[in-house]
Structure formats: structure tokens, C-alpha cells
Amino acid sequence: MELAVQTIELTKKYGSFTAVDKVSLSIRKGEVFGLLGPNGAGKTTTILMLLGLTEPTSGEVSVLGYNPVKEPISVKRVVGYLPENVDFYEDLTAGENLFYMAGLNGIPVEGRDKKISQVLEMVGLLNSQNALVGTFSKGMRQRLGIAAVLLKDPKLVILDEPTNGIDPEGIEKILSLIRSLAKDLNVTFLLCSHMLYQVQRVCDRVGIMYRSSLVASGTVEEVGKTILGEKKGIIKFRPEKGVGLRQEALNGLDGLSEVRPLGGHFVAHFEEDKLALIMRGLLDRGFVPFEVGGKDYSLEEIYLRYFQGV
């Protein structure tokens, strides 16, 4: 698997304060990677180092084969970065703003209008091309930002807190936009966020930063395993109508553990790979399973558990 971004023990110090501590990150080409962590964990500083906007104190970075410390312009030519709390010139229209950005990216004047309509179409703002950005909602500005990033046909897109301060409908639009862009354009995405639920839905892999270090990275499941340990599924079942709550009936059924009665039903842990056998066994013994909780890790849980533990 080719890597879009690789850092080796990347460190950034401001005086005696270490903002980023030995972060070794690798992002594969074509994936949507989520860099997660509470505010002040060092996510933005890491991104700035990826773009050559600040110099690392030590460690190595490589972005799409370029070294951002030595060739920041080459990096910025292929990497689209949408900073946190970014905004546009309010007294210009969406089209004029993009025209300016296109100029800064060295897109020749002849092709600019076509390119601008194209990216506005992608983010669903084509109808607002001639509206002043001052009249735009926060969600629309964010989508305009994504349009500005797409102008340069990026190979890697970095979005810093793309859903900050946006209403649920706007968030929905942005997330589905990211998903579809990643699929259609085969662009690598790096999302940086503290909004776990949203990120979990669009990311292929995540990295969790906490207090300047990268504490885990991988798929949500892998990260869950490292942080929470092996998790067991939970099954709930009740006896058939008219039959009493008799735990002895379960004797001889393999794969269930920690069975305990709860109200009118039982709750138990089960072994994932024996689920079919367990279900059949329960039915044979006159029980009706009514809720099977898989062992999906939720980022929220990982987050809470990990950060409470530390």
C-alpha cells in the first residue's frame, strides 16, 4: 500500500512546551483518515508541519513524496488544506473568491471560469456563484472552502474541524460530500476533528491524539481493541410466553457467559463466532432472543474510557 503521508517521530516544541511528541503517522493513498483528539492535543500543529507552515523541531515528514520543510510550495500545490475557522472575503461573491484562489494556484485565466463552475457544482453551490459570501451561512462557507481546495485538483485534502459550528443538516451535507469525493475522485482525505460520531461514519481509519502524542491508530475496531481490550457482545433474551424464568434450562449451551436475569429477561455475554449455534440453542430451549448487541466499538466509548483511564 502506497503511503500519502508518513511521519517518523515528528516533534514540535514551543520553548519547554511540547506540542507534538514523537508522532509516527502513516496515511494510505485513497483512504479517509480521521485524526481525533480533544482540543489542544496537537492535531493542528501536526497538520501545519505536514504543510510546511511550521518547522518540526525533530523527526521526519514526507507528504506525497515531498519534504514539506524543504519544498513547501510543491507540497501545497498537491495538498488542499482547509484551516479551522477559515473564512472568505465577504465583499466578494463566491465566484470572485474562487477566481482569486485559482489565481493564487496559478490556474490560467482562460480555464478558470470552467473550473470554478465545476467545483461549485461538486459542492452544490452553483446557484450561489454570484451571491456575496457575506450572505452565506457557516455551512455554505465551509462547502465553499472545500470547493476552493478542489480547484487545484488535489491529491490529498486536509480538513481541520470541517464540521465546527455547523447545524446538523449542514454537517450531513459536508460528510456525504467528503464520502462521495473520496470515492469519485480517489483523493486521500485527512480529517481532523473532535466530533467523534461524525468522523466515525466517514473514516476508513483513525488516529487518536492525546496530550501531544498519537496514542493509537488503525480502524475504529483495531483502535477499540488496543484501548478497550477484547470486547464481548451482549445478547438479551426472554422465555416464551407462559414459561417461567428458569436459568437451568440454559445448561449445556456453549458460548454464553455471565448470564443474569434482569426484569423479565436474561442478559448475557456471548462469543461472536458461536452466535448461530447460540441462537439455535436458545430457540430450542424455549427462549426468544430479542436484542443482539454486536461488538462494534464506538469511538465515544473508546474516547471516554481511554481519557478517563489516563
Binding site: 493542528t44 501545519l48 504543510l51 507552515l53 511550521t54 510550495i73 510543491s74 501545497k76 500545490r77 488544506y81 484551516p83 479551522e84 475557522n85 477559515v86 473564512d87 472568505f88 472575503y89 465577504e90 465583499d91 482569486y100 484562489m101 489565481g103 493564487l104 494556484n105 496559478g106 472552502g145 476552493a148 487545484k152 481541520d160
Partner: protein, 310 residues
């Protein structure tokens, strides 16, 4: 290279479209025109003889109105300040600076483009005003500036631009150093008031302290006091510009420090040639140039070293 051009044209368009530019431009145009009309009615106008009528139009004060020179040294700093005080922190406050630095352009093209655009706007404005005054001179006095007058006016024009670029780079420096536009505006205006108005008083006080002048003072004592005062005032670019324009616009001026009557004996009061007038104020021109370069240099370095987060 494309970056600096794009920023240059965008900034030019912004300045010409902004209300504050309109306000300062109309104030300066009105002040200059009224000073030229005032000078036409003045008795002093004809004191140099017909040969330098256009030049004396620029330096003569008519009745209640101060001369054009006065307006240039007092008001043109405001052009630089108004266009420069929010150059960097204004972008930051709007949230567009992080967008600019993440484009594939060298960072210095931002500050260079902004500086050059503001300088070009000032150059156009001052050239327009000088052309207007030439128009007044032609229509009211029937005098077309001769070649020497044009050359002298061009030297004066160049010195004025140096003067404006000093104020412009100072305002840009404040916009890099301070995060709030109101702070940088106040700091610029405070420095303007000090260097343009108060420096004369402060220089007088210090000179009187170092070389007190009493009724019994000898000629040497008075001269010493005067020399200290002038040396101190030369710290202000406003005074430098006044000296330069005095010598350039008045071919009779051959020395800028006080002289005793004996030293003037045997002097033939003929007008100086352009190159000789230039020799008189060459040090002042060099200092003015150096001040602008140093000021811009500091803001350039400060901006390049600044870390731009969001």
C-alpha cells in the same frame, strides 16, 4: 511570481473600491487644489520670478491656506497608514490569512504584493494630484511647466513616494506585530502625530536644555541650539521631506542649516541647477530611503517568522 501578481491586482482593486480610500483621496485632492488656488492669489508667488512659477505654486502658501508642500508632508502619511494598518491582521481577523498561506505561493509574496499594491495606488494618486495642479497652473496662470520644473517635480514626486512608503511599511509592521486592527491603527496614528507634530516641540525642548539660549547668548550659542534642534528633527521623515522639497522646489535654496550673515557675503544669488539642488539634499534622500527600507525589512522578517495557525 504568479502569486505576487494575483495579490497585487486583488489588493489594488480592494483599495480603489474601499470607502476609506475614497475619503482620504478626496480630502487630499481638495486640500491640494485649494492650496494651489490659494497660492495663485498670493503675493509671494512671483518672488522667484517667472522662470519657476509652477514650482512656486507647489511651495507657496496663499493667505490663510498652507502650501501644497505642507499638505503633502502632513497628510500623505495617512494614505500609507490607511492602506497598511490592517494589511496582515485584517486578513487574520477575517479568517482569510490561513487560507492565503496554504496556497502554493511563497509567503513573502503576500506582504510584497500588498506593499507594492498600496504603493502603486499612492503613486497614481499623487501623480493625479500633481497633474491637477499643473492643470490649475495652465488654466489660471497660463503657465506650462518647463523642462527643469518637470524634472524637479519628478524628483519631488519620487521623494514623496519614498516618504509614503516609509509610513506604509510602518503601518504594515504594526499590522504584523499587533493582532487587533484597532491597536495597529492607533499605534500608527500615534506615531504619525508624534513624528509630524510633536517632534518639533520635543526637539526644541531638548535643544534648549542642552544649549540654553538667553539674552546674553553669543552667536555661537544660538547656532549650537539651532543645530541640535535640526539634528533631532531630522529623525522625523516629515522633516526630511520638508527639507528635500524645500531645496528641490526652490532653486535658490543652497544650504539647509542656519548661516550667519558674514558667511553669505560675496554669494551670488543665482538659482542652482537640478543636480546641485540634489547634492544639497542627497543625505536627506538617502536617510529617507534607508528608513523606508529598514521599516519594510523589519515587517518582512516579522511576517516571515510569524506562525499562522487559524
Amino acid at each position: 511570481m504568479t502569486g505576487i501578481k494575483t495579490i497585487f491586482w486583488k489588493e489594488m482593486a480592494d483599495h480603489f473600491g474601499s470607502k476609506r480610500f475614497l475619503v482620504i483621496a478626496s480630502i487630499i485632492v481638495l486640500a491640494s487644489l485649494s492650496s494651489a488656488y490659494g497660492a495663485i492669489g498670493s503675493q509671494e508667488l512671483h518672488s522667484f520670478g517667472r522662470e519657476y512659477l509652477f514650482l512656486s505654486l507647489l511651495s507657496t502658501s496663499g493667505g490663510t491656506l498652507p502650501s501644497f508642500l505642507f499638505f503633502v508632508s502632513f497628510l500623505t502619511p495617512l494614505i500609507g497608514i490607511i492602506m497598511g494598518f490592517d494589511a496582515i491582521n485584517g486578513e487574520k481577523q477575517r479568517g482569510t490569512l490561513s487560507l492565503l498561506v496554504s496556497q502554493p505561493i511563497y509567503r513573502d509574496s503576500i506582504i510584497n504584493g500588498k506593499f507594492l499594491a498600496a504603493l502603486a495606488v499612492s503613486a497614481l494618486m499623487i501623480a493625479g494630484i500633481l497633474a491637477l495642479i499643473a492643470g490649475v497652473s495652465i488654466s489660471k496662470l497660463g503657465i506650462v511647466p518647463n523642462t527643469e520644473e518637470i524634472v524637479r517635480t519628478l524628483v519631488f514626486y519620487f521623494a514623496t513616494l519614498l516618504y509614503i512608503s516609509f509610513w506604509l511599511s510602518m503601518a504594515i509592521l504594526f499590522s504584523v506585530l499587533f493582532d487587533k486592527t484597532s491597536t495597529s491603527a492607533l499605534a500608527s496614528v500615534a506615531l504619525w502625530i508624534f513624528l509630524v507634530f510633536f517632534v518639533y516641540m520635543v526637539a526644541g525642548i531638548i535643544a534648549d536644555h542642552m544649549a540654553p539660549v538667553t539674552q546674553n547668548s553669543t552667536m555661537e550659542g544660538i547656532m549650537k541650539n539651532e543645530r541640535i534642534k535640526i539634528m533631532l528633527m531630522r529623525a522625523s521623515p516629515a522633516y526630511l521631506l520638508q527639507e528635500i522639497s524645500m531645496a528641490i522646489l526652490n532653486p535658490a535654496v543652497r544650504i539647509l542649516t542656519p548661516l550667519t550673515a558674514e558667511k553669505l557675503q560675496g554669494l551670488i544669488p543665482t538659482p542652482l541647477s537640478v543636480s546641485q539642488s540634489l547634492m544639497v539634499v542627497w543625505p536627506q534622500l538617502v536617510i529617507l530611503c534607508a528608513l523606508s527600507i529598514v521599516c519594510f525589512g523589519i515587517s518582512y522578517v516579522a511576517f516571515m517568522r510569524k506562525e499562522i495557525r487559524s
